[in-house]
Symmetry: C2
Subunit: 191 residues, 2 copies
């Protein structure tokens, strides 16, 4: 995050930042559909017309926030993808990123969040899995079930982590994921 091109006018940066803060705050209180441009700009203490200078509506605004978040995550993961073995370092990096953006991630994954973000995140994780395990495209279909299971599973695990306030360390979480991938799931740990 905080990767805005410095070419933007300082006033523009300020405006967008205030809007994003107001939105994150409001989303903690009510559903997205109940948030109006009117109250958003009132909370951000600016003119309603200013909003329309940058966004079409509230949903499109959230979408652009999501895409920004995911593209910076993508950058970070790709940096660590070259290393060997990639899994451990990459997972730690992933969890650290989430911890850094805890507030907005919490909102986006909550029941007040956005299912589009969930699907975009799912796709990103799946792509990384395919990169790491190097399945060729013609065999891809065969493993779709596993990739979907793992990608959604990871998101669930992150959700559980955030619910607890991210108290466990990223290292510990990464170890746990590796453990799960190596076959230490419920039945084994529960006995």
């Amino acid at each position: 995050m905080e990767n805005k091109p410095r070419s933007e006018d300082r006033r523009v940066r300020r405006t967008k930042k205030l809007l994003a803060q107001a939105l994150t705050s409001l989303m903690g209180q009510k559903q997205l559909k109940d948030i109006t441009v009117k109250e958003l700009t009132e909370k951000a203490d600016m003119n309603r017309g200013t909003f329309y200078l940058y966004y079409r509506d509230i949903f499109q605004m959230l979408e652009s926030i999501e895409d920004e978040l995911l593209s910076s995550l993508n950058l970070i993961l790709d940096e660590k993808l070259g290393e060997t073995p990639p899994n451990e370092r990459m997972l730690i990096e992933l969890f650290e990123f989430i911890r850094m953006n805890q507030q907005i991630m919490d909102v986006l994954l909550s029941s007040r969040g956005d299912i589009c973000f969930l699907h975009k995140l799912n796709r990103l994780i799946r792509e990384k899995c395919i990169s790491i395990w190097g399945i060729t495209s013609e065999r891809e279909g065969e493993f779709d079930y596993n990739y979907y299971f793992v990608a959604f599973g990871c998101m669930g695990l992150v959700k559980a982590w955030i619910n607890k306030g991210c108290v466990d360390s990223s290292e510990r979480l990464a170890k746990r994921v590796n453990g799960i991938l190596e076959g230490q799931l419920i039945k084994r740990t529960a006995t």
Copy 2:
């Protein structure tokens, strides 16, 4: 599904059914936020005021459809919960239910769907897992990560299944889930 109490007037059943069909159809075309009561009732070919006789707004209508769906799923699963071993039969039952409600499930889990439904489904699956594996409440927190991983993972798997049009049999899918729970995840199957 199709569990409406027969005490309702035939006209009421007809109205609700038409509205539900119109909504499912529209949700396949556009986001929920862009669907108005006006166009919904026009599609269902009825007076706009009739909608308000039964629902507050579009979102509340979807919510009641979801809850109905989940409560009938819950009933079915509980019936099979007493059997031993419960896993296999229960999973098959789950997948059959999804296949029967393929259209609405597809919409609800898609990127045009509803994240609330996803969370409600997640909670339902987690509850069943806890029932089956019988973890006492004080140890529950310890296994939260695993339950979330499995519950979300199953939803991802279902999503992948629906994406393929539910061509694989419920039996095969149930076997695959059991396989995953027993530790046959990516690393093993990919080599």
